[in-house]
């Protein structure tokens, strides 16, 4: 992330636009490459030295604020060594000896006399002692390694950080995903949950619209959630076509941040989107009939007092339009299953079925309880279309 003074943006007609850099700008790519080369060559040097050297390189660039932003992102990826064991104890012993020498001085002693007596008391020269006295300060620690990236990736991170910065002052944001692919929107929804945000999610034709806020945003507890909203933004570029707006409230003015897929934003969360398991595809085929249709892009559901569930599929009756969502719990989902059952107790949701792997019902008591639960379908491997169809029929 970039600190406030490193953010660059323009405001016109109450609209805020981050001053994105061109990711193919040869000058910037060259600078990014030089900075990265400097970092790689700086291994073993102290933090102060590394930061000073990078700072000088940044200062010489035509747009020093952009360069300082790149430096900040690089420094955030560096790992420095830990202080040597015993440094604190050695320092304490040295200070104690110096205090003893000071106490023994005559009342009119000069600093030079103090230094002379210290030189007698210590086995090492005072200059050496001074040099090493605070070698363990953060600025003196040595660069061990860093999370490497390419010049283009550095510019991508910079652009993303420019867009994330203003969101620290945001209370909410609205994201419209235009006709998204199934796996892309699922990745966004999972990230939403991971960021502990609350969203009103609706489908408008082929589009998905997410109004994303912090849980306490409606109570004006908005400041807390800026960081979470900024984290959420990092996944948005996995969508192919999208638009995001956020209302920003600073002490002096109200402005709106508007971003879309034409902006040079790249998600750092990789291109892996997961996949649709063949069992789910097969299930969809099993329900491809006149009575029910299967929706592989179901809306998230709020469960219990505070939970959010992203169902695996939703069954929709073609005639009545009645909907039943199915959430699957596999053998490694014992904790989430217990939580979901508890949430259903506190806030019943008849439109949700839980598919539970029998491996989660090892004890007789657990099995009986799950078998008796009106919203649970037990399965081995994967629930069959036949069992589900039986449960869906009233």
């Amino acid at each position: 992330m970039l600190t406030r003074e490193l953010l660059l943006f323009r405001t016109r007609d109450a609209k805020l636009r981050p001053s994105f850099v061109k990711r193919e700008d040869p000058g910037l790519l060259a600078l990014a490459g030089e900075l990265i080369t400097s970092v790689e060559a700086a291994q073993g040097r102290s933090r102060d030295e590394v930061e000073e050297a990078l700072g000088l390189q940044a200062g010489a660039y035509a747009r020093p604020k952009v360069a300082r932003g790149l430096v900040k992102l690089l420094v955030d990826r560096m790992r420095f060594d830990e202080p040597q064991e015993g440094a604190t104890e050695a320092r304490a012993a040295l200070f104690q000896e110096a205090a003893r020498v000071r106490r023994a001085l005559p009342p009119d002693a000069r600093v030079e006399e103090y230094e002379a007596r210290l030189a007698e008391a210590f086995s090492r020269p005072l200059a050496d002692l001074r040099e090493s006295l605070y070698a363990d300060l953060p600025g003196h620690r040595r660069l061990l390694d860093w999370d490497a990236l390419s010049p283009t990736q550095l510019l991508d991170r910079y652009n993303l950080a420019l867009a994330q910065g203003p969101l620290f002052d945001a209370r909410r944001l609205t994201l419209r995903a235009r006709a998204p692919e199934l796996l892309r929107v699922r990745k966004v929804l999972r990230w939403l949950k991971f960021c502990r945000l609350v969203a009103e999610v609706r489908r408008e034709g082929e589009d998905w619209v997410l109004d994303v806020e912090g849980p306490g945003a409606m109570l004006a507890l908005q400041k807390k959630y800026g960081l979470q909203l900024a984290s959420f933004l990092s996944v948005v570029p996995v969508l192919t076509r999208w638009q995001l707006t956020a209302d920003l409230e600073t002490s002096r003015r109200k402005v709106t941040l508007i971003l879309d897929e034409k902006d040079p934003l790249v998600s750092p969360h990789g291109s892996a989107l997961g996949h649709i398991p063949p069992e789910v595809a097969s299930l969809a085929e099993g329900f491809d009939d006149a009575e029910w249709e299967l929706d592989l892009l179901p809306l998230p559901r709020n469960v219990g007092a505070t939970g959010l569930c992203v169902p695996d599929v939703t069954f929709r009756h073609r005639t009545t339009r009645r909907e039943v969502a199915l959430e699957l719990f596999h053998a490694w989902h014992a904790g989430p299953l217990a939580r979901r059952l508890e949430e259903l107790r506190s806030r019943p949701d008849e439109g949700l079925l839980l598919g539970v792997d029998r491996a989660l019902a090892k004890g007789t008591q657990e099995r009986e309880a799950l078998e008796a639960h009106p919203q649970v379908v037990l399965f081995h491997g994967f629930p069959s279309a036949k069992r589900l169809r039986a449960r869906l029929s009233p």
Binding site: G59, R130, E200, G216, N302, G304, A305
Partner: protein
């Protein structure tokens, strides 16, 4: 079905509510999730109302129970401490107490914890205060005390944390404490810190400060979040009886001719730059503008270097070093704290004179060891920048030496407070050393605009 209360990221949530106007007035319907939601701080009012209505409810929000805690040995509070505790109790265990530095605010909190017997979160501004509170609480209450902050993550029934850590973590632990104590609570109104009190369920709240009044009227936020001002004792009521008598000595030192020349040249260079560009430091963006413009040209970079140079000369002149050395030798039998404005000066002096330094870089265990050695007299001098300004209890300190500082009256009064803890026969001395004919002189005049300074003023040497 009984009403259920849940805690969710600093908010209090109820899936359903009884049909009661007062209760529903406390909550908002959250259309996003279909539940009722309110700030966690309303928990006490909600529970009291549910009890009043006599309706069944299930409390799944609270993650604390009454705590078996008592004083390890009897404590006889000072009259002003007893008056404050009584007033706070009468206010239902909520409210603010304003007491001068050194008047025993920490002990007042210990008494409050022993009285309400609830898991307690104490929020403090600095890591040093965190370790200090940990020591005092464990000594008086005989319980292990956890810490959150400074690289330590150890939550216990009694926990001390910093404002920064609490602001980040209230959404996770805001339902684990029944009593919230905000030390130096004048920090709480900052926008990023308010959530600490807003997002906490704690039905009991205590705000402690020596200087509640803020120029922005933030004290009203403290009252809203922690309760009304229930007690206040002025420094003059305690002076000489519960706080040590004190004397302030101001020493103006000249620069050497060579220092003065270099200082004046550097100052002229940077002043020419800011005047030439119409930069003014008396407007909010002045400093940021100077920083930005000084990075754009060689002339600007030279002006920035000149600014730092003239400042460095004024802060660490050889005459200042001489005065510091003389004062330290004169007070060899006393404990002395040396205050400077920045870490660079602290470490320069530490290396020059082999004196221990305490800054925000000092790791927590070393901070504890340094303060213990200072208390025992093993290390009778501590160099610091700003980390000891507030709250840290160094009762043995008799001498304060301000080598440099900001123009803030609050900072200066807090520094004075470090040496006012009473000890039999103690008379505190605050030296203020500033370079003559530099910007320091006017900064010094600004920060002395407080009655505490004017009343304790002694002869200048």
């Amino acid at each position: 079905m009984a009403t259920e209360l849940h805690f969710d990221c600093g908010t209090l949530v109820a899936p359903t509510l009884p049909d009661d106007g007062a209760l529903r007035g406390l909550f908002q319907r959250d259309a996003r999730t279909g539940v009722f939601r309110t700030a966690a701080r309303h928990y006490r009012d909600v529970v009291l109302r549910l009890r009043e209505l006599g309706v069944p409810y299930e409390d799944r929000a609270r993650r604390f129970e009454p705590l078996e805690v008592a004083l390890t040995s009897p404590v006889e509070p000072f009259p002003h401490q007893k008056a404050a505790l009584d007033a706070w109790s009468r206010a239902g265990g909520r409210g603010l107490v304003e007491l001068p530095t050194g008047a025993g605010k920490t002990l007042l909190a210990v008494l409050a914890i022993a009285q309400v017997k609830r898991p307690t979160l104490v929020v403090v501004p600095t890591l040093d205060l965190m370790t200090q509170w940990q020591g005092v609480l464990s000594r008086h209450l005989g319980q292990p005390v956890g810490m959150l902050g400074g690289g330590v993550s150890d939550r216990r029934a009694l926990t001390v944390t910093t404002y920064d850590s609490a602001a980040m973590q209230t959404e996770f632990h805001g339902n684990h404490f029944g009593l919230l104590v905000c030390d130096e609570c004048h920090h709480l109104p900052a926008p990023s810190y308010r959530f600490i009190a807003e997002g906490s369920l704690a039905p009991y709240r205590l705000g402690l400060t020596a200087t509640l009044e803020r120029t922005d009227g933030g004290e009203r936020v403290c009252e809203e979040l922690l309760g009304p001002l229930v007690h206040r004792t002025d420094i003059r009521e305690l002076q000489g009886r519960y706080l040590a008598p004190y004397e302030v000595r101001r020493i103006e030192v000249p620069l050497t001719p060579s220092e003065q020349t270099r200082h004046d040249e550097a100052r002229a260079r940077y002043l020419a730059f800011i005047r030439g560009r119409g930069i003014r430091f008396d407007v909010p963006e002045g400093w940021a503008r100077f920083l930005a413009e000084s990075q754009r040209t060689d002339e600007g970079r030279a002006a920035h270097r000149a600014y730092r140079e003239q400042r460095r000369i004024a802060l660490t002149s050889s005459a200042k070093l001489d005065v510091l050395w003389r004062v330290l030798l004169e007070h060899r039998e006393d404990r002395a704290i040396v205050f400077t404005d920045d870490n660079e000066t602290v470490y320069t002096l530490a290396r020059r004179l082999f004196l221990p330094a305490l800054t925000h870089h000092t790791p927590v265990p070393e901070r504890k060891a340094l303060l213990a050695s200072f208390a025992s007299g093993e290390l009778p001098v501590l160099l610091t920048s700003r980390v000891l300004n507030e709250g840290v209890d160094v009762p043995e300190a008799r001498v304060g030496i301000v080598l440099s500082g900001s123009g803030s009256v609050r900072e200066h009064v807090q520094r004075l407070g470090r040496i006012l803890r009473q000890r039999p026969g103690k008379r505190a001395l605050l030296y203020e050393v500033c370079s003559a004919q530099t910007a320091e002189s006017s900064i010094s005049e600004r920060r002395r605009q407080h009655r505490a300074y004017q009343e304790g003023e002694g002869e200048a040497c």
